[in-house]
Point group: none
Chain length 410, copies 2
């Protein structure tokens, strides 16, 4: 079955309010296996709201309208639905009871325009609103079902969870599917390269396979629809196996797993600690390692080298850590990795060194070298980065973490 969602509210079009109702409704629809093809936002305008409802009725089975059920002139959903379908509004006793209950409970007298909230298109029915004055509306017409829900998130979410979803499950038994999804997480591979190598699989209809690029990572979401959970899980497992066969070596984790978490587990498993020296990424690699409690445990120390590193005036800063010598960036990075490892007296040293960032030339290319030192054995990798300095710094820190993961997982 196909759903369509309409939100009304001028504040939603002015960028003043983040539409959190949308997220909750979309997730609910997806978990019921309903297809959502269009979501439309209109202002507090009856004509445009009616037009959106008519368009939705022409292409969807279930139409949801969020907002516009208040008592004031700019609340237009009821009237728009009536106009779009040519069904007159009539006083509904159940709706009136919802409105009255609110005012009976409080000390506020009911205003005349609150009576508008008791209107429902003929043949429709009111949905109770335990959290506010505005009753919702449910109307079945010519094989379609229309839901009008109040805009305030507390009211919207309760009505959706407690009334609308149970109604759908009861009204359409067997027609709502089970949806399961799993996210495979890749690093060290670009999106278009992943795309080429997964070519055929990305066209799969069930499960669907959708890549999404995150900084330095790609998250591949497998989403299966099925009659029951076991079938959904089986579809996902089969696709996961196919993906792993092609690109398994780039997959560091799945679902809630993070790269720092995976690296932390590998370090803990090997009983190794790591020390980090950052001239280019300004503390971000050390920070990534501290975001996971296990990786944090395995971090001995991080050293950030600033613009005027300590020299002989300091008490004990080893010079090769702060001012490594070398003819090339690789040589310097290698010495820095060895120096930070010796400084902390631990198993692994990593250094991230780069060309200086020139202020005012934010889109220039930068050469960054990442060096690792595992128990004395050095390894360096150079990469070209661009973008503004903090973006480049984040990319360098991510790349260093990927290099550490590769070193540990082989």
């Amino acid at each position: 079955m196909i759903a369509e969602v309409i939100f009304t509210g001028t504040e939603l079009l002015l960028g003043q309010t983040l539409n959190t109702n949308a997220l909750h409704l979309q997730q609910s629809l997806a978990s019921l296996g309903l297809d959502l093809y269009y979501q439309v936002t209109v202002g507090d305008n009856r004509e445009r709201c009616a037009r959106a409802i008519r368009e939705a009725a022409g292409r969807a089975d279930l139409i949801f309208v969020g907002g516009g059920l208040g008592p004031t002139e700019d609340d237009v959903s009821r009237e728009a639905l009536s106009e779009a379908l040519g069904i007159p509004l009539v006083r509904d006793e159940a709706a009136l009871a919802v409105v009255r209950r609110f005012f009976d409970a409080g000390a506020i007298p009911m205003a005349a325009n609150n009576l508008r909230q008791a209107l429902v298109p003929a043949g429709g029915r009111a949905l109770d609103n335990p959290a506010g004055t505005a009753p919702g509306i449910l109307l079945e017409d010519q094989g379609r079902v229309f839901f009008l829900l109040p805009g305030p998130p507390v009211e919207f979410n309760r009505m959706l969870d407690e009334l609308v979803i149970p109604f759908l499950r009861q009204r359409f038994p067997g027609r709502l599917g089970i949806i399961r999804s799993r996210v495979l997480k890749f690093c060290g591979i670009g999106e278009s390269s992943l795309d080429e190598q997964l070519a055929g699989l990305l066209k799969s209809a069930n499960p669907t396979v959708a890549p999404c690029a995150r900084e330095g990572q790609i998250h591949l979401r497998l989403t299966a629809k099925a009659e029951n959970e076991a079938e959904a899980e089986a579809r996902i497992a089969e696709m996961e196996a196919a993906v792993r066969q092609r690109l398994g070596s780039y997959i560091f984790g799945a679902d809630g797993e993070t790269l720092p978490g995976v690296v932390g587990r590998l370090l803990a498993g090997a009983g190794q600690r790591v020390a980090v020296a950052e001239e280019f990424s300004g503390g971000l690699l050390a920070h990534l390692l501290t975001t996971d409690p296990v990786a944090r445990e395995a971090l001995a120390c991080g050293v950030v080298v600033g613009g005027q590193p300590p020299g002989s005036q300091g008490t004990a800063p080893p010079p090769e850590l702060f001012r490594p010598e070398g003819a090339t960036l690789k040589e310097k990075a290698g010495r820095m990795a060895a120096a930070v490892r010796a400084f902390a007296g631990c198993e692994i040293g990593i250094a991230v060194l780069g060309a200086a960032v020139h202020p005012g030339r934010s889109d220039e290319k930068m050469t960054v070298c990442i060096a690792t030192n595992l128990a004395g054995a050095g390894r360096e990798k150079e990469l070209q980065l661009w973008g503004d300095p903090s973006q480049a710094g984040r990319r360098a820190a991510q790349a260093a973490l990927v290099l550490l993961w590769r070193s540990l997982s082989r």
Copy 2:
């Protein structure tokens, strides 16, 4: 003039991604005095995207499409625009240059399907993308202007701010309202306290005065509408003076100024360097200082203390830096600040020390102590933080920077 906005992306309909691009675009349109009547979200489906573009072209002057410009099969915006308007796609050399630049910079080879990103409807032109591979597209057709912008927020926002808005101002002189705004930036004061003290001013209609809380800061946006620039500037200057009279001591800067930038200027002016030791904020304070070139110059070094700090096995790590002794958190933080200052041999030391972050108890409160040491004189400040560990870490780093700013600006 009327604008219409279309976003493409199945992830936006599944409720997996919050559409922050929408907010930024809507606010920009509002500030230009453009009317937005409809905003439509569709999945990664060419036919439905084309339909949405056709509908928008029938009722708006400026049509914005966000997302769907990547290299893969499910990126459909280019093809949908071509289909909706009946204009064929042709290879564009400027677009190709944008795509190539990205791959020339990195070590990743360009995949064949990246060539799709160099296609532009005949008569249109490519918009440069300094932050990614996907060129944007600008097309004028039958009195309408179409803008296709890439989906990743960094790319979307830069292209909008740096290319699209300047284009609109130049292309439609006199048809866009004159709007000027100025952002005053506060730190060291809470939002409700600022709210109370600015009471009457917040209700001003022109300029409007809108506070917005950012991590550890409040940005107060003054926005004036006027017939001409001079009038707009005068309205803003008058309001700024009134705000400064009440809360001037909390204002560290305005508009593009950043707290690291302001701190960097103060350090450079005083000829002082700073060294940072972080047990709690995991490198984020050092990182903040490296985000500004002047502050970076004044940074001697940062030290991140991990879960297993170096002991006697290291070559020279001073024990009072990594394992400071003391009966209280304040005492330890004070010693750490003095130790990192001595280690780097510079004028100012700062330490951020806190209660251990317990995994799995992410909403507990944490006590964090920030200590500064200026030429031997110590000062400590304790604060209570809550939220997940990385949020708390960011707040602690911000608070430390605020403390440094206060010390330097008095």
